[in-house]
């Protein structure tokens, strides 16, 4: 293999698994160390810079970082990255004075943002300090989008949402709430320099089965019902509730139903339990609240008696997978199962809908009637119009909406300056030695064996009695400190300087996880099999040095490096050094 070019920003970026997996590339280990130091405000601000909604995301994020966390490759559970973010948000001081100033005199450019969900709010956050005049339009009474209308208060208290939304909407942007936009043409006629569409994927998918018409208002679309609960149009639900679907919306529906009067609330889903789309922890939370999950049940019919909904019929199925892993659900041939129900919540998916965008505005629509949007710049075929969040590529999650909002803001800024949107600013990177003495490092390099700490919860009876009472209590400072200690500091890189190496093998011998080998060079596949421990995780790169005097090369499998620094401590010539890798995205104007 060729020597690894560590000047290429991607090699070490990939080693910081959590940061790499985070769509917004939040510098996770950096803020976790600050939490251990009880520097909560600083930890918060690092998050705020990257992901805009630390308090919200510290409760609701889909946590792609945790599935990527290195800790999972050496033990069971990842670092509780998400809940540590919440610790920073819960324990910080007031931060308003730390927010970037928004100039009073504007730069002369006007931008319209349609929808006030996380994607639009991120665009506003990035552009307002640069002097843009920003108009936000949303059909809800306040900003937040689905974070307000969909995510229940027992997972995300309103105060937390309001505070972080207000850091944006109350600082130099013009909001038009309770304003439905019905025509893109009209918006474009207002001569904005750029328009951002962040309207989400607002339409719930229905389930048209025999009996639907007669069932009438006893069958609800999950997303609409959740919005009605959030906006206090709906106050009760029947005692027996069937929730159809296996995603996170279904989990929020059933848990909300338990709080709105539902006693026998069930989730019924076609797929096997393990294939359900909902995150593992959301399923656990639902089960914990006494909600059984009936998997492998395909809904067949709304059962009506005397003109009223009585329940539903389901066919039992079995999942079979072909050689390519493609699944088909095969009926088992058993009798259909009847389940009683007073009301049914259908949570089987969402669709995008753009009835308000006229098709003659140079905005091309493609497959599934979705706008054609560039994956990097988020520009549509009308160069003035940008899309982001669920509106761009279909329903996803908050952190993706934020990440796309940052990119769209960068594009809008380039576009408004007459520059090419493909001429994007490079990330800021740096390597900083952590050495303080022979066995001393700026970071705490000892690897803690602690298992993941459990987040304490409010008593079940209390949370079921009050739909607004937050279920999770968050870590206290001491637990936050302990959990922070589990982080392996993956941003502190092992940097190898081959010109200093005397090939004494000390690093290779001391490495607890056998990451380092000195071997004859070969092609990657062969090299991976000749190392001290076979490098089987192909998603993780090898770090290969130039040829050493014995013509061997140093090969480090980045896969399970603990960043313990023992290699650098053992090296007699400091050919290894532990260096903190800073990788910060560049935002609009940087």
């Amino acid at each position: 293999m060729k020597p690894t070019d560590i000047k290429n920003t991607q090699h070490f970026h990939k080693v910081v698994d959590c940061q790499y997996a985070c769509p917004a590339h939040t510098p996770v280990p950096e803020y976790i160390r600050l939490i251990a130091l009880e520097r909560y405000t600083d930890a918060y601000m690092i998050n705020w810079q990257s992901n805009v909604f630390p308090g919200i995301l510290g409760r609701t994020c889909d946590r792609p970082c945790e599935s990527a966390c290195r800790r999972r490759r050496v033990e069971e559970e990842p670092v509780a990255i998400c809940r540590l973010k919440r610790v920073a948000a819960d324990k910080r001081d007031d931060i308003e004075h730390l927010l970037p100033p928004v100039p009073v005199s504007k730069n002369g450019k006007r931008v319209a943002l349609i929808g006030a969900g996380p994607a639009s709010l991120t665009v506003a956050r990035d552009l307002a300090p640069l002097g843009y005049s920003i108009d936000i339009y949303d059909n809800q009474f306040a900003g937040g989008g689905m974070m307000r209308s969909q995510i229940p208060s027992f997972r995300l208290p309103e105060e937390v949402l309001d505070e972080e939304v207000n850091y944006i909407v109350e600082r130099g942007v013009t909001t038009f709430f309770d304003t439905q936009i019905d025509s893109m043409k009209e918006i474009l006629e207002k001569d904005y320099d750029a328009v951002f569409v962040g309207t989400g994927a607002p339409r719930g998918r229905g389930l048209d089965l025999p009996g639907l018409d007669e069932a009438g208002d006893k069958v609800h679309l999950g997303v609409d019902w959740l919005a009605n609960v959030a906006f206090e149009h709906t106050h009760v639900i029947g005692k027996r509730v069937l929730v159809l679907g296996g995603g996170n919306t279904a989990m929020d529906c059933c848990r909300s139903a338990r709080r709105m009067g539902g006693e026998d609330v069930r989730i019924v889903v076609r797929s096997p339990f393990g294939d359900m789309k909902a995150s593992a922890w959301e399923k656990e939370d639902a089960i914990h609240e006494g909600i059984p999950i009936f998997d492998n049940h395909t809904p067949k019919e709304y059962v009506i008696e005397d003109g009223n909904l009585k329940g539903m019929l389901f066919e039992k199925v079995e999942a079979q997978y072909d050689a390519n892993g493609k699944r088909s659900l095969i009926p088992t041939g058993e009798d259909w199962v009847f389940m009683e129900a007073d009301e049914v919540l259908v949570a089987i998916g969402q669709d995008n809908a753009f009835p308000w965008i006229e098709r003659d505005q140079d905005i091309e629509f493609g497959k599934w009637d979705m706008p054609v949007v560039d994956k990097v710049s988020f520009q549509s075929t009308n160069s003035k119009v940008f899309f982001g969040g669920d509106a761009a590529f279909g329903p996803d999650n908050i952190i993706t909406a934020v990440a796309q909002g940052h990119e769209a803001a960068t594009s809008i800024h380039l576009f408004c300056q007459g520059k090419s949107v493909s001429d994007r600013p490079a990330p800021f990177t740096n390597l900083l030695s952590q050495k303080m003495g022979v066995h001393e490092w700026i970071y705490d390099n000892a690897v803690k064996p602690d298992e993941r700490y459990v987040v304490p919860m409010a008593p079940l009876e209390e949370v079921l009695a009050d739909r607004k009472l937050e279920v999770e209590l968050g870590f206290d400072s001491a637990t936050g400190y302990n959990e922070a200690g589990r982080c392996l500091n993956c941003d502190v890189q092992t940097v190898f300087m081959e010109d200093r190496c005397i090939e004494c093998d000390a690093c290779m011998d001391v490495c607890p996880t056998d990451c380092i080998s000195f071997v004859g060079n070969a092609e990657e596949t062969e090299l991976r099999s000749t190392l001290s421990a076979p490098a089987q995780n192909l998603a993780q790169d090898l770090y290969v040095s130039a040829a050493l005097p014995t013509r061997r090369v140093m090969v480090k499998d980045e896969n399970v490096c603990l960043h313990c620094g023992l290699c650098a401590e053992r090296c007699p010539t400091t050919a290894w050094d532990m260096q903190k890798y800073i990788y910060n995205l560049s935002y609009a104007g940087q």
């Binding site: 050496v74 005397i502 011998d509 607890p512 996880t513 421990a533 490098a535 313990c564 053992r570 007699p572």
Partner: protein, 350 residues
Amino acid sequence: MTYQVPKFRNPSLPRNALGYTKADYEGSISSLCAGCGHDSISACIIRACHELSIAPHKIAKLSGIGCSSKSPAYFLGKSHGFNSVHGRMPSVVTGAAMANRDLIYLGVSGDGDTASIGMGQFIHVIRRNLNMVYVVMNNGCYGLTKGQDSATADQGSASKKNDPNPFNGIDLPALALQSGATFVARSFSGDKEQLIPLIKAGMTHRGFALIDVVSPCVTFNNNETSTKNYDYVREHARAGGIVDFVPMRDEITTRYQPGSTYEVTLHDGSVVHLHKVAESLDPFDRMSAMAALDEHRRNEEILTGLIYMDMDSTELHEVLGTSQRPLNQLSAADLCPGDKVLHNINASLR
């Protein structure tokens, strides 16, 4: 600050026939100087024992005094161990081995521990062909006492703080051959590929196996004027015979060119493939081995690899006809067989 090894290990570490990974053969974290050759030898011992699938409790590691003799603390943490007196490891091993022949005896010593204070013991243990592996971590100096020249330092070699050594250096393999050793090898701490199979072969050999391992002392004797620094050893080492060790339970797959390769079957059925590199060396002929050592030494080369092996070695237990069972397994009835037996013995002497 780290003075402890993290508990996590690489999940893809291979398991041996006993289900153990290499980690099960590790010891505590080394306190030797960073870069000391001794640590590399420890790593080779760990790998050799793991790959041989020896149960850790079936090994006894014994040593004298010195940085080298400290190193058994850093490997085989679950094996028996005895850190004895300076130069006296051989007599302690002799006692232990005589009492219990079921263990594998691994002696670890330094050039000071062996060639100075322990010289007498060293020669006698060889001469008796005690069934053990004797590893000398040879750095040409007394590392632990701050780098004084040892008896194996080459003439003219100068360590970091000393004048060139005026005396002739002792060549331990040559001395061992002279004293009747039945397995003699030399290696270099920086050459794991060579050293690991040698350790395995030595552990399987029946009788005394000397492995003299040149092991640079980074702190006191890794300077340019020393003949035991990393670069010098790398440049001057010449492999005489390359060993490929195939344990009894594995199928022999490697095939070497005939003529230059010997296939030696050890007493337990394991096979040592010896691939000859040096023209002049016949590793089954003591005189040839001695001559090859001498020739390389005159050429300022360090002959490494398997230098000599006696396939018909008779170890001390066989010579003395000792008990097949370890002494701690003998009952009172075995040790004191009673009147009748005594009577018979007496009668046989009449």
